[in-house]
């Protein structure tokens, strides 16, 4: 017993140090693996509110740029409105408004805290569960895909962006229609890569990459990037397709959160897929 007490007295500094390390690293690795609560993140109410104030001040730096972006988007949407079109032929036109049912809803939000140079980058949005945001929803801007909501608090939410290690958004390369997964290599916030495209297919430079919309997180056809070059992966018959993102994540402010109204239905249906046995 005396030996034990002597041991603790001798190594008390080191034991205290190890204790602090276990606390902090325990938090780190459990959060990386699975989000548990809002504490220790910027979606925590106090830090969220403070970061919101900071954004109230710093948003003026990009005000002009963001205004013109929103204006351009408005023009583009206005062009598609029914009242803009003139009937060319004199025949009757039947509008089947019961044929269509709304699948996606969008919640507008503002990025109040962001990083782009870390290994895993998270954005904080100023909207939370009170506005209808839930974890697992997709987030995009008018120029490109942003990420997936990782966790939410009452008035803030944390987005795991595509600038993280395991983002895995399913994308399609147009016009060839090949599908793959989006990855990020960790050092350049302007470039990502698409994995999963067979190396016996040639791809044209500057072909556009869009979201595929297969998992129901993102709607189909949100731009992601442009193909820049093809790099062969050693030992595998697939390309590492380097793409240049269409969105500049360093100056991103206005985003939309996707709410898929049919997500439950799709999930329920896909649960019925039998799991293949490992042979």
């Amino acid at each position: 017993m005396q030996n034990l007490i002597a041991f603790f007295q001798r190594f008390r500094i080191f034991i205290f140090f190890v204790l602090l390390q276990v606390i902090s690293l325990g938090f780190y690795f459990s959060y990386i693996a699975y989000p548990k609560g809002q504490f220790l993140t910027s979606s925590w109410a106090v830090s969220g509110a403070l970061l919101g104030w900071q954004n109230d001040f710093s948003k003026f730096f990009h005000l002009e740029e963001n205004n013109s972006l929103l204006q351009n988007e408005n023009v583009r949407l206005r062009k598609n409105q029914m009242s803009n079109f003139v009937k060319v032929s004199a025949e009757l036109i039947k509008i089947n408004d019961t044929l269509y049912k709304q699948k996606y809803e969008y919640i507008p939000g503002v990025v109040i805290n962001s990083t782009t140079t870390r290994r895993n980058n998270y954005f904080t949005l100023n909207i939370g569960s009170e506005q209808g945001v839930q974890s697992g929803m997709g987030v995009f801007s008018d120029k490109g895909v942003v990420g997936v909501v990782y966790m939410t608090s009452k008035y803030f939410s944390l987005v795991k962006t595509i600038l993280t290690e395991n983002s895995n958004v399913d994308v399609v390369i147009e016009p060839s229609g090949l599908t793959g997964y989006l990855k990020w290599q960790g050092n350049d916030s302007k470039r990502g890569s698409v994995i999963g495209i067979s190396s016996d297919i040639k791809l044209a430079k500057n072909s556009m990459v869009y979201t595929r919309g297969g998992s129901g997180v993102f709607p189909k056809g949100i731009p992601v990037g442009k193909v820049e070059k093809l790099i062969p992966i050693e030992g595998k018959p697939i390309w590492n397709v380097v793409i240049k993102f269409t969105e500049n994540y360093q100056a991103l402010q206005n985003v939309y959160v996707v709410k898929n109204l049919m997500q439950q239905e799709q999930k329920k249906l896909e649960q019925g897929i039998p799991i293949e046995e490992n042979k």
């Binding site: 140090f17 902090s24 106090v46």
Partner: protein, 184 residues
């Protein structure tokens, strides 16, 4: 009163600077500007190691609350505080430090500050980026990031000390008299 107030001001000043200004600046090349390790370095020589560790942990934890790193800053800060006495002992004078002096660049000179605070910053950044990537095949990127970030952060901290600190008076007879009078 001063003994409590001055560390408190430094703590919150560096926290706010780190969280609201330096976290928002991203110069590229993976550089991450960190000013808060300065707090760990400039704690007085006669602080207990437990106080050092606890204060560093608290500061790192507070930075974590604002920057979506979930505990990485707290971990790196405690490592820095743990290694601080060893590094100060290694680079220190043979007969120990003067208790009236403070471990900042104005009191101790640029060479000493570069050696001690520079190595603390490199260790801090290396630990931070290593745990952040947590892959051995990215070790070169980690090294590049930690060296570049350390250089940039060192320049910022050096400038901060020149702006906000004033030099401790040199010890003449008169001053010793004043000092003793104050203590008694």
């Amino acid at each position: 009163m001063e003994i409590i107030l001055i560390p408190l001001i430094r703590f919150f000043g560096l926290l706010l600077l780190q969280v609201f200004i330096l976290n928002a600046i991203e110069p590229g090349l993976g550089i991450y500007l960190m000013a808060y390790p300065l707090f760990i370095a400039i704690m007085p020589f006669n602080y207990n190691i437990f106080t050092c560790l606890s204060l560093s942990f608290l500061l790192g934890f507070s930075v974590d609350l604002f920057s979506n790193t979930f505990g990485l800053h707290a971990s790196a800060a405690t490592v820095t505080a743990m290694l601080r006495p060893m590094i100060y002992k290694y680079f220190g004078p043979r007969d120990g430090y003067d208790v009236i002096k403070n471990p900042n660049v104005l009191d101790m000179g640029f060479r000493w500050h570069l050696l001690t605070f520079g190595s603390l910053l490199v260790i801090h950044n290396f630990w931070f980026f290593l745990l952040e990537s947590f892959r051995l095949d990215e070790i070169l990127i980690v090294l590049k990031k930690s060296v570049l970030s350390s250089v940039c952060s060192f320049i910022i901290c050096w400038a901060l000390q020149y702006v906000f600190f004033k030099k401790e008076k040199t010890i003449c007879n008169n001053c010793i008299y004043h000092y003793c009078w104050f203590v008694v």
